[in-house]
Amino acid sequence: MDDSSTLHVQKHVEFIKSLDNKKDLESLLTEHIRMNGAYWGLTALDLMGSLNDLDQDKIISWILQCQHDCGGFGGNIGHDPHILYTLSAVQILALYDKLAVLDSSKIASYITGLQQNDGSFYGDEWGEIDTRFSYGAICCLALLRRLDAINLEKAITYIVSCKNFDGGFGSTPGGESHAGQIFCCVAALAIAGSLHYVDKDLLGWWLCERQVKSGGLNGRPEKLPDVCYSWWVLSSLAILDRVHWIDRESLKTFILDCQDIENGGISDRPDDAVDVFHTYFGVAGLSLLEYPGLKHIDPAYALPVNVVKRVFS
């Protein structure tokens, strides 16, 4: 257990479990995005076969306390509702096969209310617009089987309007292509059955140009590699069925080199501090690379394949 040539599953499971009761400065500064953290941590646990190591009833009861009368969820109890935390809440309940505890019409009406005339989505009542929110709306409603609640055609048109000359997508029309935004747009189009709007070969090439000599992936040209792009870039390539265009072995090595083999957890780059987000991104990336022993992850819904199958069975 002293080398980084394998994934130290048990260490990572313990690392994520240790976050549950943590009350240090870092967890305080991120209390407003706790719902995201919970989704990332729990999905990573499920991929590693350890979802039931945490108390399901406690977590679900906490999630439900984060819901507001409008139907949306906040990042924690007492925090304002936002589409990103609403998606995370629904994803966690899907992990637990507990979508039935939700009033899906109420959530659907919250999301309906965030859609604008041009098809875009506000993140919350304050009116920030970003293709991340288009993904949030479409993924969340698909999991609730309520895509009928929005104007899907207009939502697709807006996403397509964010497509750039390099085949990628930005946060708004004209915004620079960025691997995180590309994931949101490509995954949303995949869920909406509209992948024909993507220039698959042009974008596939741009995505595989993200791999640098170390084997890691960056999110934009000339930027440093980061384990988070092992998810954002690789999931996009997986949706486009082009994962084999990059060097999978050297990417696998890069991710494994970012493990803290003493205390568990995965960081952005080798020897940096670990966190729950990069632990998810690393494990999910390895799942897409079919690392032995990990559950397979669905690249569009960002949930284990068996969970997605169960939702739509």
């Binding site: 009350k23 750039n164 000359f165 915004g175 000339e222």
Partner: protein, 332 residues
């Protein structure tokens, strides 16, 4: 993110519980649901500030002291979106001068220029102030870009300012200036495309293509391995691949770079695209690639380029092998 013991002026931070103006407020701790609170290892001033924030939020107190409280809370943790929301409600209810709010944002931005909430707040203020604030907003983004030239939020804000409030006059020269500083700046290349496509003061992509191709070729000569300039060059032609294949000058650029460096991956790659789009180099040009091999047809040339790329760009070898497999169907 700053959670220091002292504020910016170096004065001792006075706990809210010791401030007379807050003596009527009962602080409200964060309810994390059924999770046990183990230890209080974090800075007590931050926790106390948030406890008082929750108290004013619970009673929806839109007052000057609430505004000051949100200011302190944001300086300690600019990521908490609920604090920003409440600040906007207070600013609106008290009818505050929003020009002054710009200074506050600029101050917070010093240590939080990658914070979504900050930029959204800035936009909310700018929207309220209208066209008159456009020059100030462009200046603000330039300030941030001076230290972080690829800051995604700053670029998004700048694009929004241009579209919503105007200020296009100097934008193309701004892009040129940034590219002169760093020719690899992909954000500046993207902005250049945005300006060419959207500026009401320019003639649009089609009529500017020729001059942009020239600009781009010069950039490529300066930095032949720059992914951004090659991608921009391709982008200028969009789906008009025929014009791209017909362009002798672009073909010549590829050969010139390959004469300097036979392993120049972007030049090999671009030349492959050109050949697929109908470009037909001379036999002499092809000698530049490899004087020992006689290349007689476009298909032969394309196959040669793919094979070279599989070797010199080994991490993407599977991509090049796939490109090679398509060639017989594309090139007749």
């Amino acid at each position: 993110m700053q959670v220091g013991v002292e504020d910016d002026d170096g004065d001792r931070w006075i706990p809210f519980s010791e401030r007379s103006e807050w003596s009527d407020v009962q602080p409200v701790p964060q309810d994390d649901g059924p999770y046990p609170v183990v230890s209080i290892a974090y800075t007590s001033q931050f926790r106390e500030t948030m406890d008082y924030f929750r108290a004013v939020l619970a009673r929806d107190e839109r007052s000057d002291r609430s505004l000051e409280l949100t200011e302190e809370a944001i300086h300690m943790n600019a990521g908490n979106y609920t604090v920003w929301h409440f600040r906007r409600l207070v600013l609106e209810s008290l009818g505050k001068d929003l020009w002054k709010e710009l200074y506050f944002i600029q101050d917070v931005a010093k240590s939080n220029h990658k914070n979504y909430q900050l930029w959204h707040h800035r936009r909310w203020v700018a929207e309220k102030l209208g066209v008159a604030v456009a020059p100030e907003e462009l200046r603000f983004t330039e300030l941030v870009l001076a230290s972080d030239a690829k800051n995604y939020h700053a670029w998004s804000h700048r694009q929004w300012v241009l579209k919503a409030l105007g200020g296009w006059e100097a934008e193309l020269s701004f892009c040129s200036m940034l590219l002169q500083e760093d020719i690899y700046n992909n954000s500046a290349w993207n902005q250049r495309f945005f300006v060419i496509k959207n500026s009401p003061l320019l003639e649009g992509l089609d009529s500017m293509r020729e001059s942009e191709v020239e600009y781009c070729i010069n950039a490529i000569k300066l930095a032949p391995l720059n992914e951004s300039s090659w991608t921009y060059l391709r982008g200028l032609f969009g789906n008009d691949t025929k014009s791209l294949g017909d362009s002798q000058s672009i073909g010549q650029v590829c050969f010139e770079e390959l004469a300097r460096d036979r392993c120049c991956i972007p030049a090999l790659s671009f030349l492959l695209d050109l050949v697929c789009y109908g470009f037909q180099p001379t036999v002499d040009d092809c000698k530049i690639l490899d004087s020992s091999i006689e290349i007689l047809s476009s298909l032969q040339l394309a196959l040669y380029l793919c094979e070279r790329l599989e070797v010199v760009d080994a991490i993407r070898a599977c991509y090049w092998a796939w490109r090679r497999s398509l060639l017989p169907a594309i090139i007749k």
